[in-house]
């Protein structure tokens, strides 16, 4: 079910000639190949002569390498090479990402050298004629490790003298020191009520259904490195490997076909990919392929979300937020990607969220990113989301403490559109958000008041029903390398429109949404448009698809390029129709005179033919050809927002949580394709349902991962995910087209909504919930402890 409101006046739809495609639930142009098994993913690249890589990995969390004997593996059938740190960790390699730059506190290496620092760390790689033979030989490598005490827990890491990285003086990867905010202590001291709580989150994993993978081939004759990979863009790998190998950027050609999901994991190439690229460079000529298996993906593909947030808030008797303070700890493992893995700085900026607080100086935030002997942190959909997880649970803690309903306490604090522009206590400026409006829409859609009445009756009958709310503001970053994306349009001599974009779609429907924009902006038939991405030689530079930036930023580039192209097209059409460019109207790839639809007309094919093939007829002041390249520079920050509302029933006997209804009211501005918008939200919410109730990456006391298959790391199935209901509030942004990003929000607001719903259900038992994961065993323990506590009263 979908409800749409557009209480704000609709913003300008760019300069679009007509909004025919934008806003439509248009079926995707990607789908025909994907539903018939004709997609082309990285493992579908089967070049002749391909050899296969498999990794020898550490089975010890921390220790010194006492021996590494590769002789038996080298002698094994089909083995071409066994490479160790001595072969690949050359001193002149630069190992840093464009986004984070070189970082002395982020020790990096391709293969483990001298010691190992987490279970799963790659130590050597075997190259063989096929993957079976490579794995056979991996078994024959004799790796001897003298174990050392591992550092696993964040608190321990701060206390112990043991170092995850002996090169560093502490286990703190990055700190966000507390800033002395004048008057903040006084605000707390003078408040009617102060609440403090520490919220914990466990290790969630991205788990794209397609694991990581790469095919690398070095051509010694042309001195070119050819890469086919599964990523979120082609340009960062190209820059990264130019630095890693010390070769010019233009010696590297990176291609990406279809990509089977990522969720942040594939934004940056990781150590195994580096090793394969170096192996290909060293061996020469034959393509080297590595397709990660699922166990590798679970233990070494990057982990996320193991964090704590200590939150303190000061409120008045009415529950109005007067001041807040938070301390954030992030477990970034041994080798986070990129850089030091810290997201606390972003969390700090976003912590005030959708609430007013009490002006500048009313919120403080500090944090630490902490190294441990576990798999390194990687980005996962909304990497900074702990601020929302902590804040939204805290709102319910305060509400319960003061005896105010969680909906009511949010109403008293939430920012409405009437207050815009609004400057947050962390100095971010909201110009086009609608937190209050989404809160009311979500409450209305879920029937909040009626549920409270139903809940009361159910409780009287001994049933445990609960409702949870969560509000958030989602940032889209437009600074640094994330600030621009580009589009190049070539109308070919045949009149076909080729659009070359810097994006790297891995499920976001970019081929559809960008075509919708171009079709409207240029007035061309959508069937004439082809979106080309994932080729570093053909497409303009860009950071790739990630950070919820494609709709607004790549969309901005599409608008700009298409608008410029329309001008060129109408100029040429004007010559052919003997009219001024401003008198030309383009629709469905046909140019005619405005106000005279039945008059003379020319097709885009005729216009293109004139522009390329009959250039003398254009006159001296018209540029020949139809080629345009435009880059859009985004505002430093853009914001979307949403409210999630969920109702649950907890089974007292089994500890199982059943989701009764799940409502999302969101505001991502103008929607290019509402079907795609809802799909992005649904995916994020399902990941949170998995994370809160089923998924949990667990290490034992020795640092061994114990959830290493899909039998242990449990992803939710269709049987666990309910139907979602959507409401759309539309407040157009100030970007071309009025779009905002929303790719991550579904996964940000949902964990606290679910946690608040379970807390609310268990409230009659006096249970306080501050931890995930909420498997049935955990819920049962909470219920039993509550019962015991009551009996002992």
């Amino acid at each position: 079910m979908t409800v749409e409101t557009s209480a704000a006046p609709p913003g300008p739809l760019g300069q679009a000639a007509a909004a025919r495609w934008i806003g439509q639930r248009m079926p995707r142009r990607e789908d025909p190949r994907l539903i018939t098994g004709r997609g082309r993913y990285v493992d579908d690249d089967q070049q002749a002569g391909t050899v296969h890589a498999a990794f020898v990995r550490s089975s010890v969390a921390r220790g010194r390498i006492a021996g590494l004997d590769i002789s038996a593996a080298l002698a094994a059938p089909g083995v071409l090479a066994v490479l160790t740190a001595a072969d690949v960790n050359s001193a002149d390699h630069q190992l840093w990402y464009t986004m984070t730059g070189p970082d002395q506190r982020a020790p990096g290496r391709v293969l483990a050298d001298g010691d190992v620092r987490y279970v799963g760390e790659p130590v050597a790689l075997v190259i063989a004629e096929n993957r079976y033979l490579a794995e056979d030989a991996v078994e024959l490598v004799d790796l001897e490790v003298d174990p050392l005490p591992p550092v696993l827990d964040m608190e321990d890491a701060l206390r112990t003298a043991e170092r995850v990285h002996h090169e560093l003086d502490s286990n703190v990867a990055a700190a966000l020191p507390p800033v002395e905010i004048p008057g903040l202590a006084e605000r707390f001291a003078g408040a009617a009520h102060v609440f403090a709580e520490t919220f914990r989150q466990h290790r969630y994993l991205c788990v794209p259904m397609e694991t990581r993978g790469i095919v690398a081939r070095w051509d010694p004759w042309t001195e070119q490195l050819e890469l086919v990979l599964s990523g979120q863009g082609v340009h960062e790998p190209r820059l990264f490997y130019a630095r890693l190998l010390g070769i010019p950027e233009d010696s590297i050609h990176v291609r990406m076909g279809d990509v089977g999901g990522s969720f942040g994991q594939k934004m940056f190439p990781m150590r195994e990919e580096h090793a394969v690229v170096i192996a290909a460079r060293v061996l020469g000529e034959r393509p080297v392929k590595w397709i990660e298996d699922r166990v590798e993906n679970l233990i070494s593909g990057g982990h996320a979300r193991e964090e704590t947030l200590r939150v303190e808030v000061a409120v008045d008797d009415a529950g109005v937020l007067l001041a807040g303070r938070a301390h954030h700890r992030e477990n970034v493992g041994a080798y986070p990607v990129p850089g030091n893995g810290q997201n606390g700085a972003t969390s700090a900026g976003m912590f005030p969220g959708p609430y007013r607080w009490a002006g500048p100086g009313s919120v403080g935030y500090s944090g630490q990113a902490i190294y441990t002997n576990t798999c390194g942190h990687c980005a996962y959909r909304g990497p900074w989301m702990m601020e929302t997880v902590g804040r939204e649970q805290m709102m319910d803690v305060v509400a319960r403490g003061l005896g105010i309903d969680p909906l009511e306490i949010r109403r008293r604090n939430v920012i409405s559109r009437a207050e815009l522009p609004f400057t947050t206590p962390t100095t971010l400026v909201y110009e086009t958000v609608s937190p209050a409006e989404t809160l009311e829409q979500a409450a209305e859609l879920i029937g909040y008041q009626q549920f409270r009445r139903d809940q009361e009756q159910a409780r009287a009958a001994g049933r445990l029903l609960g409702i949870g709310l969560s509000l958030y503001v989602e940032p889209q970053f437009g600074f640094g390398i994330l600030g621009t994306e580009a589009a190049t349009i070539r109308v070919e001599p045949s009149g076909k429109v080729n659009v070359y974009m810097s994006t790297g779609s891995h499920g976001q429907s970019v081929e559809t949404t960008m075509a919708q924009i171009i079709a409207d902006e240029m007035g061309v038939a959508i069937a004439d448009i082809r979106i080309i991405q994932g080729d570093s030689r053909a497409t303009p530079y860009g950071a790739g698809t990630g950070g919820s930036r494609t709709g607004a930023i790549a969309g901005g580039a599409a608008h700009a390029a298409a608008s410029a192209m329309r001008e060129k097209v109408t100029t040429v059409a004007g010559r052919l129709l003997e009219a001024g460019p401003d008198d030309i109207e383009m629709a469905d790839s046909v140019a005619s005179i405005k106000g005279d639809p039945d008059g003379p007309s020319v097709t885009l094919a005729q216009i293109a033919a004139a522009a390329y093939l009959n250039t003398d007829a254009l006159g001296p002041d018209v540029e020949s050809g139809l080629e345009v390249s435009k880059r859009y520079k985004a505002p430093v920050f853009m914001f979307s927002n949403a409210c999630h509302a969920v109702t649950v029933e907890v089974d007292r006997v089994t500890g199982q949580v059943r989701i009764l209804r799940y409502v999302i009211s969101e505001d991502c501005g103008n929607m290019i394709n509402p079907m795609v918008v809802e799909g992005q939200i649904a995916g994020g919410v399902a990941q949170a349902i998995g994370g809160v109730f089923y998924e949990n990456m667990v290490y034992d006391a020795d640092g061994n991962p114990v959830t290493t298959t899909f039998m242990d790391y449990l992803l939710p199935t269709a049987a666990e995910i309910p139907d979602f209901e959507y409401g759309h509030v539309v407040t157009p942004s100030n970007t071309p087209g009025g779009y905002k990003g929303l790719g991550e929000g579904g996964a940000i607001a949902s964990p606290p909504a679910l946690l608040n719903a379970v807390s609310d259900a268990l409230a009659p038992l006096g249970v306080t919930l501050t931890e995930q994961a909420l498997g049935p065993d955990k819920i049962l323990a909470l219920i039993e402890n509550a019962d015991t506590g009551r009996r002992s009263l």
């Binding site: 593996a73 072969d87 033979l133 649904a682 039998m711 992803l715 049987a719 979602f724």
Partner: protein, 182 residues
């Protein structure tokens, strides 16, 4: 570049391949495979049908689902040799081209039942077998029936709707006495 002396092997493997004959998407095919080669790898590498995907290689995710003599099986859990003499249908065998999609494939597109598309062939093959066995499923049966396949992008919203829609369409065409192949 580093000196690799002492780190290079011979690269020669023994030939222990065996011939397997089977019917693939209606055509007789003969391949030579190692006895330990999984059916999934043989489909992808030897039959060159890359629509069958590998998401876990331990029988949970369902991305590698194919029809073997009409039954949905996980091709990562079988050896290619075990399929000798069988009739194998992969996702490529369900429709010849984009113009001849099955009602289920059309419904996946219409209801946004896919995003990255990696799990999609497994879902479509599984659901094809499911609907053949259970042409008029309830919503709960659909969710149960699909619970052997994992999707990470869609939250299953469009997938459940697609199967529901295809079932309704198939029921209608079956009622009209037409071909009821899902």
């Amino acid at each position: 570049m580093p000196e690799l002396t002492g780190h290079l092997g011979e690269g020669v493997a023994a030939d222990t391949e065996t011939e397997v004959e089977l019917t693939v998407n209606g055509r007789r095919r003969r391949i030579r495979v190692e006895p330990r080669k999984t059916l999934a790898d043989a489909i992808r590498e030897d039959l060159r049908l890359t629509g069958t995907h590998l998401g876990c290689e331990h029988g949970v995710c369902g991305a590698c689902t194919v029809l073997l003599d009409g039954a949905a099986v996980r091709s990562c859990l079988m050896f290619a040799l075990q399929a000798a003499g069988s009739e194998l249908t992969t996702v490529e065998g369900l429709s010849a081209d984009a113009a001849s999609l099955t009602p289920l494939q059309r419904a996946f597109r219409e209801h946004h039942g896919l995003q990255c598309g990696f799990c999609t062939p497994g879902f479509i093959v599984s659901a094809t077998a499911f609907l053949a066995e259970n042409p008029q499923p309830t919503d709960e049966q659909i969710r149960e029936g699909l619970s052997g396949n994992l999707c990470r992008c869609t939250g299953y919203q469009g997938i459940v709707r697609a199967v529901r829609t295809a079932a309704a369409e198939l029921a209608q065409t079956a009622g009209a006495g037409k071909d009821s192949q899902p």
